[in-house]
Symmetry: C2
Subunit: 395 residues, 2 copies
Amino acid sequence: MENFAFDIPTRTVFGKGAQNEVGKLIKSYGGSKVLLHYGGGSIKKSGLYDDVVASLRESGLDFVELGGVVPQPDLKLVYKGIELAKKEKTDFILAVGGGSTIDSAKAIGLGYYFDGDIWDVYTKGAKVEKTLPVGNIITIPAAGSESSNSSVITNYEKKHKQGYGNELIRPIFCIMNPELFFTLPKNQIAFGVADIMSHILERYFTVSIHTDLIDGMAESILKTIMSNALIIINDPKNYDAWCQVGLGGSFAHNNLLGIGRVQAWACHPMCNKLSSTYGVAHGEALAVITPAWMEYVYKENIGMFTQFAVNVMGVESSYREADTLIMDGINRLRAFFRQIGAPAKWSDTSVKTDDFETIAKQITVYDSGSEKPVSKNGMKELYWQDVLNIYKMCI
Amino acid sequence: MENFAFDIPTRTVFGKGAQNEVGKLIKSYGGSKVLLHYGGGSIKKSGLYDDVVASLRESGLDFVELGGVVPQPDLKLVYKGIELAKKEKTDFILAVGGGSTIDSAKAIGLGYYFDGDIWDVYTKGAKVEKTLPVGNIITIPAAGSESSNSSVITNYEKKHKQGYGNELIRPIFCIMNPELFFTLPKNQIAFGVADIMSHILERYFTVSIHTDLIDGMAESILKTIMSNALIIINDPKNYDAWCQVGLGGSFAHNNLLGIGRVQAWACHPMCNKLSSTYGVAHGEALAVITPAWMEYVYKENIGMFTQFAVNVMGVESSYREADTLIMDGINRLRAFFRQIGAPAKWSDTSVKTDDFETIAKQITVYDSGSEKPVSKNGMKELYWQDVLNIYKMCI
């Protein structure tokens, strides 16, 4: 096990009706004027918007609104949010929505005190010291942003999607009422589950050893998510199943499962550029690329991938034929993704296959000049040829 | 799943050499004058005391000392600590030791601002609003106090051991270097493991349903702790095995495994009084009573105990004979405790069997007049006759 430091400072308030606590919660954290940030009209249609506004008013909180967050949240709206927050002197940001809305809120919070272009913070390591506090009501369990220290923003002009991590931006609270997930369309459920599983797998696959405790927790959470995802796909209003997937989605990305180990983080970087170029959903691309990456690198760590096949995918096989056993595990993961309706190859998605070489090169050399491999601490460093090979495996 | 609110605010700083960070850590949390609280001389013998003092001095921190904490920490020393902290105007308490030292530090922290008898806070629900911040360096993984919101203090004059819970007293940080566990005597290892497992089992056994995610995590952590405890018993300097048991000990009691479920908490109350009366170690008593309690109540929830037998203890049996299957699981737990050197019955401990009826009655009616059963939300409410029956099963 590697040395680490760890806490989960985000307070999760979980259960039926939890959204009605939001006013009281914000007040308890010292908020008085709130920037209410959300996406399209879905929270108005569902009645959630009314619940939130009622709760804010009941607690005597003033608020201004900024809707319009899109999936792969747009840097332009972040700029608009920063301007609005400054003008209105808000002291708290409430994100109501999925990971995109929360990521956008985090960027606005950072920009509030930052005296420059927030994009420089994301892309050039410009330092920030302070942020507006962010709370959220999560409506799509997928991104894990509700309790994570990261945010991903897209600069559409540059076709560049950029992640950023900083303990400052970890939300103060997350309100999760699984009833709010009941109306999600099937493809969003499938992509969300793939995203959640990827957050676990990117941490799970490690070159560290003697990590039994977290290994076991990750394996158990993966299995619980898979079994409950299959329930939800057929019964999207199943509260009990959503509880497991929703909470599992937070555990997948609050780094509980990342402590004490070197983490692979191979698939996310390979997918981000495809999303900003072709608009493919984040989880959609991850469902395609994850099994391919596993197939491409497993020979680097037969033990780890055997463990995955046996402990997570339930393969009972001859350990004397490791390749067969491991490929059985990977193919069971592929079958699971297909079963929940996630894509298996690029032709099932909006990704075009013509520019793979250019994209593979952009990923590994972006803004740097010299090549930086993807998954530097993972099983295998991935140079542009490797990325290209993995992309091509999914055609 | 039940509604809940949850976070893990205690920051765990984990790994080799972590104790040398303590000065910097305290400073980062605003401490300037520290009450250094510890037990007997073991931290001086091991060199840990020197490391701590060097780190405090390096960070320019002033400190005063209070040693002498005993297992089942004594209310009298708490009084002394409060007096010393007030006199010296300390602004931070650093506990270096096991659960007893940390529990004592928590009580001192609470007493610092409390204008009355701290024992009234523990026993009569007197309200406290504020505490001195407490950090710790853990030298025995067992009590889970390093990141829990609870503290147990013993009033030896009244032969009364009393627990108390409040989010205020959750430590600010916990430093865990598993190397510090290498010199623990075998019986403390065994009792510590029993205590850790009990913290999980008291939460695991529940009348709630649809708690798959946390069930699975608890089962996995229990299995990891058992397999690594067996390594440690034969090889007490095995760092990797201690990592799993040590971190597992924190997860066992920071309530990660208690969220979304009603919790049994049956065995702890039955053991506390035995400790304050006969001086039996906390984990020692838990090892004896836990399997007996399980045997006594399992018929109330065949499903839950079947799940334990199969998922935790690995029983493969006919599900058509639930009693056989469950008793196999319970007996495997007994065998595990014996294997690590924990006792199986009272005659292996300092507990005398003459006063069981008196004690059973004291537990269920203490200071109240009317009988209050133990494990009110558990599988089965335990009245004094039940407690007596369970005590007698362990003779």
